[in-house]
Symmetry: none
């Protein structure tokens, strides 16, 4: 950082430290856009404002760059969410709805969804990535949802149920939305395209209805 020296050196020093981050950012965008195979390292470098050679100074190969992108990008966002859950005071059905909405806002409609799409698409080619993602995202996410459902059961709002199973029911519409949005949808613009929020809402209603202890009575 070397504070207030003349500007050029400062910029250089700052850049030097920023390099990996800039490269990862550029790589993220391109990987999400075009997938692993179709992304050229030269383009990544260009977008990060450095030369191809420089990229290889920081990442020993395209594959490692890819792994780094995934690792870097999906670092634990779950603490925040966990806190929100813990401090939530309403009924669990509302909590579920809230969570699904905020998922859409914070993930589904952002670039983060691109990462999920990317990982799912390339997982079979990069088992390591897949298991990393599983460990780092899937499992924590799973746990988070589990905790929410447990809260509902504990508070006698939800009937007892197979938690794992229920979790997948909640995840499914989100994965579906992501894949749809990032694969077929962009290529084949149609009228019959999905309204994501409405879709999420209706899925939530159906699922909650099925979970709730005595819908009426």
């Amino acid at each position: 950082m070397s504070a207030a020296s003349t500007s050029p050196p400062v910029r250089r020093a700052r850049r030097k430290e920023a390099r990996p981050g800039e490269l990862l950012e550029a790589a993220l965008e391109l990987f999400v856009d075009k997938g692993f195979a179709a992304t050229r390292v030269e383009e990544v470098a260009a977008r990060a404002g450095v030369s191809k050679g420089t990229l290889f100074l920081y990442f020993p190969s395209k594959e490692e760059l890819f792994k780094a992108v995934v690792r870097e990008t999906i670092a634990g966002r779950f603490t925040e969410w966990n806190d929100e859950i813990q401090s939530f005071e309403g009924d669990t059905a509302s909590l579920v709805r809230d969570l699904m909405h905020s998922w859409w806002e914070r993930v589904g409609q952002t670039q983060a969804a691109g990462i999920t799409k990317l990982v799912m698409s390339e997982a079979s080619l990069f088992p390591e990535i897949a298991s990393f993602y599983q460990h780092e995202v899937i499992t924590p996410g799973h746990q988070l949802i589990r905790r929410v459902l447990q809260r509902g059961i504990d508070r006698r709002e939800f009937r007892p149920m197979d938690l794992d199973h229920a979790v997948y029911s909640l995840i499914a519409p989100m994965i579906f939305l992501i894949m749809w949005k990032h694969s077929l949808a962009p290529c084949c613009p149609r009228d019959e395209s999905i309204d994501p929020l409405r879709f999420i809402d209706s899925q939530a209603s159906l699922l909650l209805e099925g979970m709730q202890l005595r819908p009426a009575a």
Copy 2:
């Protein structure tokens, strides 16, 4: 096939007829395994026991080979399914359940599902494939489900609804299963893995419950 020539299998001639099938089979396996871009035509040919050149005798390009695989593997199924629907005599809820089960048996758990995964993964890179798939698979599938739902409405079993929306609700769990099975699942074998049939069943129940016109009153 070629009629009743019981004579010793004319090797060259028989091969001519067998070739496309062998190539298609090899291609299916490799495409499912490695995706479209990462599959090399030479490897497809090798696995089918022929040379690179021979493949191009039967399919003019890698892309056409892929389309042929799709046609062979998926597209042809819809007439069969349509027939089954038309001749079905029970209530529509059972029909929906039946269809989802047979989907799992005929597509979901077979290599055909790998093709769907592949298309969703690489759609953005090969727009022509994406639109081919949309045209050849997605749209017919959409229509098929629509018809089933309409049947339910016509017979006063289902309440009136936004059909497109409902179709997506039915598709979502299938897409989810496919993506799950072909991306994260194979790399991270866990106990908490999904039991597909049970998942399909429970999704069906939820959805049907939401659709039915007051089962009682």
Copy 3:
């Protein structure tokens, strides 16, 4: 020929003998159209109504096929012309004009010109063809023109001159017309295209004027 047996065998017998001719004819057309390299033997065979394999029964290679075409197509047309010259009775200037016109009609505007173009185009890649053509066509043509000019000199119509040189002057516009017609002209249709007959006429006039022994005086 086996005369009057039943028709099928006759046809087969006749075809068998006709094969090489049909192949040569087909090859001629295609070579003229597309040149040597761009002509595919399969297309030649198809146009002759036989299979690729059959072609190689008659000609051991594409190159030999090409040579055969040249041999067959341009073999001695010169005797006819030589006779015409010998029996011509008018003045030599008219003879020259006549010859140039009949060249245009019999060669320049026919497929034969395509062969010339072809040979000149591919000569450097097939020296053997070139020397064959030189021997079989160029030299006889050269001699023919030479004889005509000598006739003019002998009859005191033309002034004495370097015959070789004069021959080239007469050949030049023909070669030019052929090359123009078969290369740039077809690709770039313009208004400023050449009227071949008028061009030949004016060239003839210029050349004859230069050759004649005292146009006036």
Copy 4:
């Protein structure tokens, strides 16, 4: 270029500048020798002392490489020639003779002529090259000759005439010489070969005689 670093020639940097020229030179030789289709880019690269990939660093395709060769070899000459015409002060007949001589020296007897031969030979197979050549060389050449003839008419040296037609008369002997020299001639070295300069001279004389407005009267 890179400023005034008088230091020992920076090898890598200097090469960067030299590459295109070296490649162009190698390409010119090979194109002239073997034609467009038969020249392999790998061989061009090898002759320039670089690898296949390097060539594509400088020229995006074989066709663009060829165009660059044409631009370098021929197309650039016209401004020079136009200047010479404009500053010429003698009579137009002399100008025509001068031009034809300098054409022989700068084009006809150099490798540039080989390019013209190549284009005429392969035009039908590579329409884009043909039209490029038409645009870049034929048309400018045509215009140049036209201007010269117009000068003669304007100065009352030449009689009025159909300019397009006259242009072709002037072009014809050059095309003929090129085709002769690069097709039949090299394969069949004879005594009766053409003396190009003498041929040009005599053609010029004939044509000028035909054009001049009564040399005496």
